[in-house]
Symmetry: C2
DNA sequence: TGTCAAATAAGAGTGACTCCCAAAAAAGAG
DNA sequence: CTCTTTTTTGGGAGTCACTCTTATTTGACA
């Protein structure tokens, strides 16, 4: 969720030079091959060499596109969009409400598209099942948090590394990640957006946890 | 921060059989050797074989004691204590207040002992500097969160995997971890307990982030 | 078409981690 | 104390992620 990423997530829209198009193509070929093999034989049982063979590239090419094997699974694609949504929110809106809006918009769009939704489900299942990926997903989430934290700092007139801003994003993204895990662990039987609203609601109520 | 751990953190108190004592001794020897080498030449530049040599054990022994190289740095030792403090809190106390008490008690004791404090500082610096360790530290924090979450679920009459409980611990431990990172990044010039109070205060106020 | 820059392939090397088996050391029984 | 059993250790071979380097290919551009 941090660093470089192409503009268009899915479908090869004819943009840029031949070289650029080929790069996107190769990237997707590796991803697709990896996901297929992971589904067939599991993540740990699939060497990178195998993925390279399946995608018809050399192993070194795989590492040129993805710094680590885990990164083949993870994605950045929504960071810019989330940042843009945040910047477009009214300045007087409480940050927690802005985050809720981000989730509604970005996740809503994502879950609406069947292909995107399927990709996300496969990704989150790997996050759930593979410790190495889960660890990295956490880092990726933190990176997204830092990105949005910078914007929130701007909007609230605070320093970029203000403690309160950092705690805000850490708490919010920790909660969101946990909620997503809950969702996949429950086999996605509940509505993710509704679950996220419950989570953000609890945060807004000062984490007051009444007895049941 | 999850799983097996000896009762007494520091100093070899004569307890258990010869075998048990030797195990504790070996474990500490490996840890001490590792910390020394990491300080001298850095984490990445120190192969496990080198640590094994320094600790006078075979490389395979190192891996028998610590599943991964990162785990040599991380620790579990305070989980049981935190759990016990939590269980001893009055049942009608809001969970967030209980967490605050845990932090005050356990961290207070830890920071008071110079040796413990020094160990913690070295550990957190490695967490700050080494991505692989940071990722694992996050997982460890989550494990502690799950442990305390189970107890909180009990105390609030909720299911063990109740969404609200999980969100609570994820948010709280995310915030605490971020605060600790802030503390080491600022070269520990501020009082950690005071910082944690600020963080928990923000959580209690529903993450309301006023403009400055 | 020819030249330049970037992407790729191929190979060697490092280091974390696993599996397996034989040797050593401790625990327990007689 | 001695023999047997169990646990712990050490050593070696093997796998795999990842790095670095170099030669080759391929698209960009004049």
């Amino acid at each position: 969720m941090s660093g470089m990423c192409p503009r268009t997530p899915t479908s090869a829209s004819p943009q840029g030079s031949l070289r650029e198009r080929k790069k996107v193509q190769t990237r997707q070929a590796i991803r697709k091959a990896a996901y297929r093999l992971f589904a067939e034989q599991g993540y740990d049982a699939t060497p990178v060499d195998r993925i390279a063979a399946e995608a018809d590239v050399s192993p070194s090419t795989v590492f040129r596109y993805f710094p680590t094997k885990e990164d083949i699974v993870l994605t950045d694609e929504y960071d810019d969009e989330m940042a843009q949504v945040l910047r477009d929110r009214p300045l007087d809106e409480p940050p927690l409400v802005s985050v809720r809006q981000i989730m509604h918009q970005v996740l809503g769009r994502m879950l609406a598209d069947p292909e995107m939704r399927a990709d996300m489900v496969r990704r989150e299942e790997l996050v759930r099942d593979v410790p190495a990926i889960r660890a990295r997903a956490h880092e990726a989430f933190s990176a997204t948090g830092r990105l949005l934290g910078g914007i929130i700092a701007d909007r609230t007139g605070r320093a970029a590394d203000d403690l309160e801003v950092r705690v805000f994003t850490a708490a919010v993204f920790g909660a969101l990640h946990e909620t997503t895990m809950y969702w996949v662990e429950k086999d996605r039987s509940e509505d993710l957006v509704a679950l996220l609203d419950r989570a953000l609601g609890l945060l807004r109520r000062g984490l007051d946890l009444p007895k049941e």
